[in-house]
Structure formats: structure tokens, C-alpha cells
């Protein structure tokens, strides 16, 4: 009976799909779907235009002007002068090179430590207290950088800080972590590493989770050494997610501002002055909107270049998956 009903309805269904009325219905459904989905996009598009496109265009425009918010002089069009000034601005160039150094060191440290931690927790389901350990491990990452900065500043204070209290109680001289020129940059780097290594550990865990169990079991059956398993089985599968993690961190470290601002304010002297701190000073302390816009445009291009690498890697994976499927 059921089969008969199905069979009897099939021609109608087929006709419905292939008959003369089908294109019209499909078209109307298509247009209403398009309208509906387009309508749903409107708020996002509006938000994107208002919050991203307009400010970017505005910033681009301002970068061609000599304009300080607190001056009665008003705006003066100066063409590319802000950009040529940037090319000769010693402190800005120094801050950019310092930022790149910070970025490279931070990403390397965080990737290596993150990978190490990821491997420790990988397939360690029976480890006692694993969940608690993971929760505690990821805590620094979810804290606001402002809180972390203040927290570390107080901990590292040579007079009132807890860390120097322990150092002194062991009979050593207190260390000026944030004011000694030899220590300040390293200290900020280590705090950033403390904060963001969990992110790389998370990425490593996700990457390791993407390695097929069958392949790992096969490697075990084949009696491959741990090193061979790593090179021939784990890395080929895990590398995309880890590289994505590295790129995300690279982009993020490049923008580091709040942690440094709270911990050292760029000091001692200019020893920890990263470019985002410099931009903040120019734009929001000096209100030199023209020049700071030019710097922001320059940094935007650098960020776009880094993002392009990120997108390229994403596409690389998609291309590989397509290739595997075919």
C-alpha cells in the first residue's frame, strides 16, 4: 500500500520538478530566497560599511591632511607629505623593527611551547586532573590584556612585588624586570608568551585531533618510531591548523598594545615601545590625526599582507582537500 502510494505520487513529483510549471516556481522560489537571504545580510552589511568601510575611507582621507584635533588651524591638504615624513621618522621605523623582532620571537616561543603542551595533553584522556589542568592552562588567554598587564606589573614590582619578595627571600638582589633596559623587553615578551602559549597549545591539540586514528594505528602496526610518526603521519595532517595558529598569532602580536602600555608604557625610555603603542600616542594622546592616519594606513597594509598569507594557507588546504577527493 505504501509502495503503491509512493509509486503513484512519483510521476507528479517528477512532473513537478521537470514539468512546464517547474522553472516558474523555481524562479519565484529563487527570487524570494535571494530576497530573504539578501535581507538577512543587510544588517551585517550596514554594520560592516558603517564600522569598517567608512572609517577606513575616512582614515585614508585624513592621511593626506595636516590635521590636529586640538589645533585651531583646521585641516590642510598636504598630499603624500605624511607618508614621506613616515619614511624619515626614525622613532617610528625603530618601533616597527622592534615590533617585528617582538613578533618573531613571541610567535616562535609560543609555537614551540604550545606544541610541547599540546603533545603532553594529546591522547592523555586518563591523565588525572586533565580537565582541571586544561582549564587552568587556558585561563591566561581569556583574561583581558589590561588585567594581565596590571597583574604582572604588580607581581614584578621590585619593592612591593611578590616575585621579588621570593627572590629576596632566597638571598638574591631584587630584579628590576620592567625598568632594567636589559630585562624589560624580555619580560614583556615572556608575559605575552605566558598569555598566548595556551592558544598555541589549543591549536596544537586541535591539529593533533585532526590526525586520523587509523593512520596512527597503522603507523603503530608498522612499528614506526615516534620521530617517523611525527614526520610522516602527524605533521602532514596537523600542519594546516598549526600554521593557521601561527599566522593568527603573528597578526595579533603585531597589534600588541594594551599589555605593553600597562606594564612598561613603552619604557624604560623607548625600549619596549612597539608600533601600536606609538600609534596610540600619536592618535589619542597627541590627537595628531593626519599623521597617525598615515601610520595606521601603513600598518593596515602590513596587516593585509599578513592576512593574505593566512588566506593563502586556508586556500592551500581547500585545494589539497579537493585534490584528495578527486
Amino acid at each position: 500500500m505504501t509502495e503503491a502510494v509512493i509509486k503513484s505520487k512519483q510521476p507528479e513529483l517528477i512532473q513537478g520538478k521537470t514539468g512546464k510549471s517547474a522553472p516558474r516556481k523555481a524562479k519565484s522560489r529563487f527570487s524570494s530566497n535571494t530576497l530573504w537571504s539578501g535581507g538577512l545580510l543587510v544588517p551585517v552589511l550596514l554594520f560592516f560599511i558603517l564600522m569598517n568601510v567608512v572609517p577606513t575611507i575616512w582614515m585614508l582621507g585624513l592621511s593626506f591632511y595636516d590635521y590636529t584635533l586640538t589645533s585651531a588651524k583646521g585641516m590642510e591638504f598636504i598630499g603624500f607629505d605624511n607618508y614621506t615624513r613616515l619614511l624619515n621618522d626614525g622613532p617610528i621605523q625603530l618601533a616597527i623593527s622592534r615590533t617585528f623582532l617582538f613578533m618573531v620571537l613571541a610567535v616562535i616561543l609560543q609555537t614551540l611551547l604550545g606544541a610541547l603542551i599540546g603533545f603532553l595533553f594529546w591522547r592523555a584522556d586518563r591523565m588525572p586532573g586533565r580537565r582541571l589542568a586544561l582549564t587552568l592552562l587556558f585561563t591566561p588567554m581569556v583574561l583581558a590584556p589590561l588585567s594581565s598587564g596590571l597583574f604582572w606589573r604588580l607581581l614584578l614590582d621590585p619593592v612591593f612585588g611578590l616575585i621579588n619578595y621570593f627572590i629576596s627571600s632566597l638571598g638574591f638582589e631584587p630584579v628590576n624586570f620592567l625598568t632594567n633596559p636589559d630585562w624589560a623587553f624580555t619580560t614583556v615578551l615572556l608575559v605575552d608568551t605566558w598569555m598566548w602559549t595556551p592558544f598555541m597549545a589549543l591549536m596544537t591539540l586541535a591539529a593533533l585531533g585532526s590526525v586520523p586514528k587509523a593512520e596512527l594505528e597503522a603507523a603503530q602496526v608498522d612499528n614506526l618510531s615516534m620521530w617517523q610518526r611525527l614526520i610522516h603521519v602527524i605533521i602532514p595532517y596537523a600542519k594546516f591548523i598549526i600554521v593557521l595558529g601561527i599566522l593568527l598569532r603573528t597578526i595579533d602580536v603585531f597589534k600588541t598594545m594594551d599589555l605593553v602600555y600597562l606594564m612598561t608604557n613603552g619604557g624604560p625610555g623607548d625600549r619596549t615601545e612597539l608600533i601600536a603603542v606609538g600609534l596610540y600616542r600619536l592618535a589619542f594622546q597627541s590627537f595628531n590625526l593626519g599623521y597617525s592616519s598615515a601610520l595606521a594606513v601603513l600598518l593596515l597594509f602590513i596587516a593585509i599582507a599578513l592576512t593574505s598569507i593566512y588566506l593563502f594557507v586556508l586556500n592551500l588546504r581547500a585545494r589539497k582537500e579537493l585534490k584528495d577527493q578527486s
Binding site: 560599511i49 568601510v53 567608512v54 575611507i57 575616512w58 582621507g61 585624513l62 593626506f64 591632511y65 590635521y67 590636529t68 584635533l69 586640538t70 589645533s71 585651531a72 588651524k73 583646521g74 585641516m75 590642510e76 591638504f77 615624513r85 624619515n88 621618522d89 626614525g90 622613532p91 621605523q93 625603530l94 614590582d157 621590585p158 619593592v159 612591593f160 638582589e173 631584587p174 628590576n176 620592567l178 625598568t179 632594567n180 633596559p181 608604557n265 613603552g266 619604557g267 624604560p268 625610555g269 623607548d270 625600549r271 615601545e273 600616542r281 600619536l282 589619542f284 594622546q285 597627541s286 590627537f287 595628531n288
Partner: protein, 515 residues
């Protein structure tokens, strides 16, 4: 009405700026124009709130605010107790407003630390907002607030309310908290909390007979213990006392000064060493800095200032106002160079009766005579140009109330404030109310303190010198002379680029770095 008032009041500043903006906006993008129209629409909302035909700068009359209810917004400096006092005293203003003018008023406030408050208020003012009707600001910001026409010229309010025009104790009050441009006589601010520098000492340690005997044995002269002796003390003699009490092995530092890179902490603590030795930081007539700031006198003064680090914690280069308060109030420092306006907070309850506050020690001036010139601190009130009529009236009423004798009594005697008027500083009750009032008066006398630049570029200039000078203290800049050379060149560049100085910076300044 308020918009018209604003434009008429500051025709030269605002009109020029609006014209400049218009030219700029047309050249940017259509989207930008649309956005600016939206902003303009938002900011013009305050026009509707105006009421009454009388001049709101006169304040309220007995009738024109009757039955109304509104909120007064004010901004204050976070972590700076003197600027929080108006909030504590506000119930008295509410009663005053109700009784005299028949309206109800509430208070909202926003606060941010010294370095960040300007960032908080400037965007609201640039957008024509009356979020903050009346503001406590730092004296260096006067130019940055006055030039764009964001604040009401105080002279206009003084003209209509002569009772507010109180005779100050010295010309330092006007030149620091009121006048912009420097020397023009045009007033923009109203003194809120005056401030000068001084030193807080542990009187109990000075008066300890054992210490007195030990000091005399070591230095062959008696240990000064009275205010009168310290009023005349020379810095070299004072440093001997600091060295005597410096006992770091037992957790007692000889002194504490400010060397932090934050805001103007290093600068203001260093200035007395330079000013008193005969150094200058700029020529205010020509806006020349290069060749003035980078002098041998200033370099020697900076070396002397930083040289005092041997009597301080190893973290001296991060010491700001708060750190110095902590060191002194936790009995970790025998003395502390500090702003006298926070005297109430330097004398913790457990130190009551154990603290002596003195003016800054004197230096040997260029003519060989003892000389002290400290840095001026303190803050003025300024009134928002974009206030609607009702809020403008309430702001003026607030000022009238603030300068009433009974309000000043409450501010000075109960809330840690300091007087600034001639009458106030000759009032024996005020002078004896706290140990830090006498040294404050001493430092407020003509020529004993001076404020630094009020130009709108102050933030840029300050950032340059704080970075370089703190770098010298921390050891990232090799010498005081290098730090001053860098600062002078960069500041000259800032003033030259802004069109404020015709004096160009030396060649190669743009690429100059601190490395």
C-alpha cells in the same frame, strides 16, 4: 541659542576650524560627508534644550530655573583625591541650588588618570557634546581646549559675575590655571585646586635624640628639626640628611622622587633642579626650544636629579605620584618630594603628628644666591562651550557656589583642599589647618614656581621628553646631554611643523632616535 553663543564667542577659533573642516571633508569621500552630517545632526541636538532670553553665563535667576530638574556632568582626574572633593561636597550644592534658584540637580561624573583624561573629554568636545558640563582639567591642557573653542572664555563669565573674580595670592595662579596664550591676559579657567611642590619628612626620626647625636657626630653640625630651618635649607645640606637616614639594609630609603615615564611625572620632578640652577626649558616669546633646553646647566641639573637614585629603591625609574605616596606612608622612605595638594594622603593616620612638610630645598642660583623655582601643579575648572542654556546656568551657579567662603571652608578644612586667593592664604585658620599649607604658600609666592607650556602640542612634546628623560634615568640613553639634545630637537620640530615656531629644527631631526 547655545550654538549661536558658542560660535559668536569663539569666532576666530571655531569659524576658522569649521571652514577648514568643510574644505577637508569635501575632498575626502561622499561617505565621509554623510557620516559628518550624521555627527552634525547628533551634536546639534543640544540646541533644542535652550530656554530663556537672558544670558546663561550670568547663571540662574530666582525664577528662570524654578521647578526644573537636571543633571550636571563633570570630569575629574582619577586617582587624584583633590579633584574628587566636589563630588563629596555636592549635596551642599544641591541644597544651594534648590534654596536659591528652585531647581533639582544631580551629578554624574567620569574620571580617568592624568594621562588619559584628556583623551576621554576631547572626543566628546570635538563632537560638540555637553556630556561634561564642567571639567577639572590639567593646566597644560588650556591651549588644547581653548584653541578649538571647546571651552567658554572665563573672562566672559567674570564680566557678568564680578563676584567670582577673586584676587589671587600671586600672579602664578592666573598664569597657571587661567591664561592662554601665555602672557596674553585672556582667561579660560577658574582655579579649582592649586598646587606646588614640597618635601615630606619624618619628624619623629628628626626629633629622635639618638639620631640628632649621631648626625652631629657624623657631620659636625646639628640636625635641623624645625620648619623654619628647612625653609632656608640648601639642597646639598638636605642631601646630607637624606644620606644620613638612608638605611636600605633595614628597609629605609633616604628619599623618593618621581622618575616615571607616565604623563609628566619625571618632568615636573626634574624641573626645580633645572629652573633653580638657572636653566630654561624654552623661550615662550619665540617658541624656541633647541638651543635653550639642551644647555649645560640643564644637563648638570638632570645628572644631579638622577644622581639621587642612590637613596631610593632600585625601581626608582617607575616611581610616580602613587609609588612615592606608598613608599612614604608605608615608612619605607624618610623623605618624599611630592605635590603638596595630596598632603592629606601623604600623612597616613599612623603618621599623624610624625610628618613635617617643607618647601623644596634651595639651590645655588646662577648669581650664587640661594634660589628655588618649583614646578606648578594643580588644576582649573573649565566650562563646556556646548552646554545648553540650562546647563550653562547650572555650571555658572556651581562656580558661584564653589567660591563661597563656606564652600571653600569645607573644601580646605574638611576635604584636603588648598586656598589660592590672597584672602585665603592670609587666613590663619587655613594656614594652621594642615602641615602642608605653609610650604604651599611659600612656594606660591611670586617667582618661586612656574608652569610649563600650555600650547595644544603639549602632549606630543611631553611624550618626547618623558621618553628621553626616563630613558636616561633607566640607562637606555647614555647621558643627560644626549637626552636633552634629542628632546630639544624633537620638540623644536613639533613646534615648527605646527607653525607655532619659525625656528626650524636642526637638520636630521626627523630620523633622530634615542638609540
Amino acid at each position: 541659542m547655545s550654538r549661536k553663543f558658542m560660535i559668536n564667542s569663539h569666532e576666530s577659533g571655531i569659524t576658522a576650524q569649521l571652514k577648514g573642516r568643510r574644505r577637508g571633508f569635501t575632498a575626502i569621500a561622499t561617505v565621509g560627508i554623510a557620516a559628518s552630517l550624521v555627527l552634525a545632526g547628533c551634536s546639534s541636538g543640544s540646541d533644542d534644550a535652550s530656554s530663556g532670553g537672558d544670558n546663561p553665563l550670568t547663571g540662574s535667576t530666582a525664577t528662570n530655573m524654578q521647578g526644573k530638574s537636571l543633571t550636571l556632568g563633570y570630569s575629574r582626574i582619577g586617582g587624584w583625591p583633590p579633584s574628587a572633593a566636589p563630588e563629596a561636597m555636592f549635596p551642599a550644592f544641591q541644597a544651594y541650588a534648590k534654596e536659591n534658584y528652585g531647581y533639582d540637580v544631580d551629578l554624574t561624573f567620569a574620571e580617568a588618570p592624568f594621562g588619559e583624561l584628556f583623551q576621554k573629554i576631547a572626543p566628546t568636545l570635538a563632537a560638540g557634546s555637553q556630556e561634561f558640563n564642567i571639567m577639572i582639567v590639567d593646566s597644560q591642557w588650556l591651549g588644547a581646549l581653548a584653541e578649538p573653542g571647546w571651552i567658554v572664555p572665563a573672562d566672559k563669565i567674570y564680566d557678568l559675575n564680578p563676584e567670582l573674580d577673586i584676587e589671587p595670592f600671586s600672579s602664578l595662579v592666573a598664569s597657571t590655571y587661567q591664561v592662554y596664550p601665555d602672557g596674553s591676559g585672556q582667561r579660560w579657567g577658574f582655579p579649582q585646586m592649586p598646587d606646588t611642590q614640597g618635601v615630606f619628612l619624618r619628624l619623629d626620626m628628626l626629633e629622635d635624640p639618638a639620631n640628632q647625636a649621631a648626625f652631629e657626630a657624623e657631620y659636625g653640625k646639628p640636625l635641623p628639626t624645625t620648619y623654619e630651618e628647612y625653609e632656608e635649607i640648601m639642597m646639598d645640606d638636605f642631601v646630607e640628611i637624606v644620606a644620613f637616614f638612608n638605611d636600605q639594609d633595614n628597609g629605609m630609603y633616604g628619599t623618593a622622587l618621581q622618575y616615571s615615564k607616565d604623563y609628566d611625572f619625571f618632568s615636573c620632578a626634574y624641573y626645580p633642579f633645572a629652573y633653580s640652577r638657572g636653566g630654561e626649558i624654552w623661550n615662550p616669546d619665540t617658541n624656541q626650544i633647541y638651543g635653550v633646553l639642551n644647555s649645560d646647566v640643564n644637563a648638570a641639573a638632570m645628572e644631579e636629579f638622577v644622581g639621587l637614585k642612590k637613596y631610593q629603591p632600585a625601581s626608582f625609574a617607575t616611581q610616580g605620584i602613587g609609588e612615592v605616596v606608598d613608599l612614604f606612608t608605608t615608612s619605607q622612605a624618610f623623605s618624599a618630594f611630592q605635590w603638596l595638594a595630596i598632603g592629606k594622603f601623604m600623612i597616613a593616620p599612623e603618621l599623624e603628628g610624625k610628618v613635617l612638610a617643607i618647601p623644596l630645598p634651595k639651590f645655588e642660583g646662577p648669581d650664587g644666591k640661594p634660589k628655588i623655582v618649583g614646578a606648578m601643579g594643580g588644576q582649573p575648572w573649565v566650562v563646556n562651550s556646548f552646554n545648553d542654556d540650562d546647563h550653562m546656568r547650572v555650571s555658572v551657579d556651581f562656580l558661584k557656589w564653589w567660591y563661597l567662603p563656606e564652600t571653600q571652608d569645607s573644601f580646605i578644612l574638611e576635604n584636603g583642599g588648598l586656598p589660592w586667593s590672597k584672602e585665603g592664604l592670609n587666613n590663619e585658620t587655613y594656614l594652621n589647618s594642615a602641615p602642608y599649607v605653609r610650604p604651599f604658600k611659600y612656594m606660591l609666592e611670586e617667582g618661586r614656581s612656574v608652569d610649563f607650556w600650555h600650547v595644544p602640542e603639549y602632549a606630543q612634546m611631553l611624550a618626547v621628553q618623558q621618553e628621553a628623560w626616563n630613558g636616561y634615568a633607566a640607562g637606555t640613553v647614555s647621558s643627560a646631554a644626549d637626552a636633552l639634545e634629542y628632546t630639544a630637537a624633537k620638540q623644536q620640530e613639533i613646534l615648527f611643523n605646527s607653525g607655532r615656531s619659525e625656528e626650524p629644527p636642526p637638520e636630521g631631526t626627523a630620523s633622530l632616535t634615542l638609540q
